[in-house]
């Protein structure tokens, strides 16, 4: 049965920040091997949806299931030890990449990569190093192994962060606007790595404003507006001939701004 059920299943997800209703009943699934791009204007709830999947943001209502492990929202804020452990298990299955990279500045690139595999997954040090070397090679940063993050460019930092997430061998990789903090000339190297991952069949969810990238790498584009999924489908359909007037308007503005 595990081959049939999706890797990520979000059901009836709501999120309030105070009186602000940011997610309004989102149902969302990601199949194994799928690359899903979340698009929509800022404030539409894309990032909140992504962060709710690994509970960095606590959803208000609804449930999240990752690779068969389901955790319900906790409207009363009464998480106990068992819930926290389940959330931790979900995080092990869903790797996360951030806009600001969030590498650990007091550790070298290699130390960043092996820290969690050793201390969280319980790998032996030489196993963890072998794993780290493999993924550093994959993102093209083998020669930066012993540098501190402060000596890397933004693009190199984000590629290191991708390698760090891969070292946990998660079931799904989630990217929260991974290129938004980068200088334009450094965006390409990160998108190339992500595109390779997508084509290799890595399950991924990407919040992005890079429409060209979405067109190239996405299996499915999900358009969000005001906390709801408005339209979704293959990129050529959603991005070229959107059905919903809100998607049409968003893409028109986007094209007008020359961003796509």
């Amino acid at each position: 049965m595990s081959g049939v059920s999706p890797i990520v299943r979000v059901q009836g997800l709501h999120k309030y920040f105070g009186s602000l209703h940011v997610l309004r009943g989102v149902d969302f699934e990601v199949e194994k091997g799928e690359a899903v791009m979340l698009v929509g204007r800022s404030g539409s709830g894309k990032t909140t949806l992504l962060r709710s999947i690994n509970f960095l943001t606590e959803p208000t209502l609804g449930s999240v299931e990752v690779d068969g492990l389901r955790v319900d929202a906790d409207p009363l804020g009464s998480r106990n030890r068992e819930h926290r452990e389940q959330i931790r298990q979900i995080r092990l299955r869903a790797g996360m990449l951030f806009q600001e990279f969030n590498l650990f500045p007091h550790m070298t690139v290699l130390e960043n990569l092996i820290e969690a595999p050793i201390r969280v997954r319980g790998l032996a040090r030489d196993e963890a190093i072998a794993l780290a070397d493999r993924y550093l090679d994959k993102v093209g940063l083998k020669d930066k192994r012993d540098e501190h993050p402060a000596r890397l460019s933004g693009g190199q930092k984000q590629r290191t962060a991708i390698a760090r997430a891969l070292c946990m061998e998660p079931k799904v990789l989630m990217f929260d606007e991974p290129t938004s903090a980068l200088d334009p000339e450094l965006i390409g190297e990160v998108l190339n790595v992500m595109e390779d991952l997508a084509h290799e069949g890595t399950t991924m969810i990407v919040v992005t404003h890079e429409m060209h990238f979405a067109r190239e790498a996405a299996d499915r584009v999900v358009f969000m507006e005001e906390g709801e999924i408005v339209e979704q489908g293959p990129p050529e359909k959603v991005l070229n001939s959107p059905q919903d007037p809100r998607t049409q308007q968003f893409l028109r503005r986007f094209l007008a701004a020359g961003a796509a």
Binding site: N54, L56, R88, Q89, R91, L92, G95, M96, F98, E100, N102, L103, F104, P105, H106, E115, A116, R119, V120, R121, E147, H148, A150, R151, A161, R164, A165, M168
Partner: protein, 227 residues
């Protein structure tokens, strides 16, 4: 100084006899300060975690500690630990009592410094660590505290230099550090001028030495930040 010596007000014979003893006791002053700052740092980390804890009891206890220590004179705390605790059956010899008093006192000030340092570590660091599946205690120990320690190191240096001076207070309970030796050698013989000038000079040299040391450390840390 040379002028003083030249005026004949200064008893050079006394200095020759007693100065080496007073200077030699600088070692104990440094030992007292090292031990006290070590204790203070341990208390401060616990205190800071307490002040940031969501548990109201732990939080209250840490707040009480900081408030009480900062609201009472160090001298009273030294007296209390050395003269009052025996009434409760806790009898500490002078040296441990002095170290305990200084450590306890500075621990409270450092608590606030560590708390600020922990809060200065960007939230994204904690999120990234949590997203990698680290438990709360591991996030604190491996990710937040090492970065917070870097942030507060200059402030710990300042506190240490202040402590060198405050350590003179433990002479009153008989810890045989610099001031105790100066007083014991100088007062009975009427050589207070020489005795306290020497004591003052020793503290001055110690603080200058550690300031230079601290500046170098800070410069080195700044360099590794830039990398």
């Amino acid at each position: 100084m040379a002028a003083l010596v030249a005026t004949d007000n200064v008893d050079t014979e006394w200095i020759k006899t007693w100065a080496p003893l007073i200077v030699g006791s600088a070692g104990l002053t440094i030992v007292v300060c090292m031990a006290s700052i070590a204790m203070a740092i341990v208390l401060a980390i616990l205190g800071a975690l307490g002040r940031l804890s969501a548990n109201p009891f732990i939080n209250g206890l840490a707040s009480l500690y900081v408030s009480f220590v900062r609201g009472t004179p160090l001298l009273v705390q030294i007296y209390f630990i050395y003269f009052a605790l025996p009434a409760l059956g806790i009898i500490l010899p002078a040296l441990p009592a002095g170290i305990f008093a200084l450590g306890f006192n500075y621990g409270a000030y450092l608590t606030e410094i560590f708390r600020a340092g922990i809060q200065a570590v960007p939230a994204g660091q904690r999120e990234a660590a949590e997203a990698l599946g680290m438990r709360e205690s591991l996030v604190m120990r491996r990710i937040v505290l090492p970065q917070a320690t870097r942030i507060v190191t200059p402030a710990i240096g300042n506190e240490f230099i202040a402590m060198i001076k405050d350590s003179a207070l433990v002479s009153i309970i008989g810890v045989r550090e610099v001031l105790w030796n100066a007083e014991t050698a100088g007062r009975p013989r009427g050589n207070t001028l020489e005795a306290f000038i020497i004591a003052a000079l020793i503290y001055w040299v110690l603080t200058i030495t550690f300031s230079v040391f601290q500046e170098r450390l800070e410069r080195r840390m700044a360099r590794s930040d830039r990398q």
